[in-house]
């Protein structure tokens, strides 16, 4: 199965998840996702998702000036973002365990 297809549905949740403990800027978030094993994610997808989550009111942003490089735009979860993470997380767990059960019953896992 193509992971990129699966990813389309859960990229929002993945981005919210990597921002749970620590704010981050775009490239940093991309790196966290890849480090977590989501390697197929496209650069543009992460930026697009951040933009959509932000306009959906789930993230706040602030710019951090940097001495050696360009200024960085940081993203962080606001209250709505945390609520969404919790809610979507539950949906995911429910869905994932349903799939797990399904695959186990049929002896495919």
């Amino acid at each position: 199965m193509d992971t990129t297809q699966l990813l389309k549905g859960v990229l929002d949740l993945a981005v919210l998840a990597v921002l749970r403990d620590e704010d981050g800027y775009g490239y940093d978030i991309l790196r966290r996702l890849r480090a977590a094993g989501i390697e197929e994610v496209g650069d543009a997808s992460v930026y697009g998702t951040l933009r959509r989550l932000f306009s959906g009111g789930l993230l706040n942003t602030y710019v951090v000036p940097s001495d050696e490089g360009p200024h960085r735009k940081y993203y962080g979860l606001n209250a709505a973002g945390r609520a969404e993470l919790q809610r979507s997380g539950k949906v995911w767990h429910g869905f994932a365990s349903t799939m797990d059960d399904l695959l186990r019953e049929r002896g495919a896992a």
């Binding site: 990229l11 800027y25 775009g26 490239y27 496209g42 650069d43 543009a44 997808s45 992460v46 930026y47 697009g48 998702t49 951040l50 933009r51 959509r52 306009s55 490089g69 360009p70 200024h71 960085r72 735009k73």
Partner: protein, 324 residues
């Protein structure tokens, strides 16, 4: 313009269907991101991230802009684009299949190694094209870009064009859209020019081999309009099936061995192995073997191409049909 600026510019143009405000918002992080990607490793941005157009499409799709904002303009020729995509897909498969046969992961990896060779070849082709356009006597150019028959000019022009081509190749990733298209159009022209040139050179080479000592005086050749040769002996008799040789014993080929049938008017390959190809067109009638006909003199003057033997090349000896 740096590579990063060019990439950002490409993405910006691909997002041109959006309002300036949204576009700027989407592009806000991009230069910073590209700088990070660039710092991380080797390879061009396009190799790492795909084309600016693809990046823009992904950005637009994931940012949830479909529906909220005007849809991007529909492609004008969807069938053409689909055909192009199909061809690219086939090429990609061929690329992967052929690669291992020649010892590379992809055939493209090998072709990329040949790039500098192409730059040099492109310089040569450009020089030839320039010389061809400036040279009055085009048949006489040879394989160097001579202008006014000067070897020195040819070498200087060649060196200049090759150098320019290489410089251009190094800079082409930084070119903006218009110069890049101009470069591609120029390259397409050069390839067509090269194919035409190759075809000409090839047919020249074949003629030289096939015709043994055949010399092409192109333009200045007084024999170029000869279509047949008539050999008469001392008594004024027409010699049939004569063969012509030069001092080296190489056959001399003049004319072409096609005859117009005097009755039907159809053109066909001559049945005669030597000269004349078309004895019926003889300019002078043979007094000994044929009864003189009153119409003979008029028919003789009616064939302008027919010239008596003395016009054959002076040095080669005219030897009537050697025993073969």
């Amino acid at each position: 313009m740096t590579e990063i600026d060019a990439y950002v510019d490409g993405v910006r143009q691909a997002l041109s269907g959006l309002s300036a405000e949204v576009r700027d918002e989407l592009l806000e992080d991009l230069p910073e991101h590209l700088a990070e990607v660039r710092a991380e490793g080797s390879g061009t941005l396009v190799e790492r991230l795909g084309t600016p157009e693809a990046y823009a499409a992904e950005l637009r799709a994931t940012a949830g802009l479909v529906g909220d904002f005007p849809e991007p303009p529909k492609p004008r020729y969807p069938e053409l684009i689909e055909a192009r995509d199909n061809i690219l897909e086939i090429l990609r498969k061929v690329d992967v299949r052929v690669g291992p046969v020649i010892g590379y992961e992809k055939a493209g990896d090998f072709l990329r190694l040949l790039r500098p060779a192409w730059w040099v070849a492109r310089g040569y082709l450009a020089a030839m094209a320039i010389a061809f356009l400036l040279q009055a006597n085009r048949g006489n150019m040879g394989l160097l870009p001579r202008i006014g028959d000067s070897d020195l000019v040819a070498l200087v022009l060649l060196a200049g064009c090759v150098t320019l081509s290489i410089i251009l190749a190094r800079r082409s990733p930084d070119l903006t859209r218009t110069p890049r298209y101009a470069l591609r159009a120029g390259t397409a022209f050069l390839i067509i020019f090269a194919l035409a040139g190759f075809q000409t050179a090839d047919s020249h080479a074949r003629n030289e081999n096939g015709g043994a000592n055949y010399v092409d005086y192109s333009g200045s050749n007084p024999y170029s309009n000869i279509s047949d040769v008539f050999v008469y002996d001392g008594q004024g008799r027409l010699v049939n099936d004569a063969r012509l040789f030069d001092q080296e014993g190489n056959p001399i080929r003049l004319g072409d061995n096609h005859c117009d049938d005097p009755i039907t008017g159809e053109s066909g390959r001559s049945v005669h192995l030597g000269y004349p190809y078309c004895p019926v067109n003889a300019p002078f009638t043979d007094p000994n073997t044929r009864t003189p006909q009153p119409s003979a003199s008029t028919s003789a003057s009616a064939t302008p191409t027919a010239t008596p033997t003395p016009t054959a090349p002076s040095s080669p000896a005219v030897s009537p049909s050697p025993s073969r």
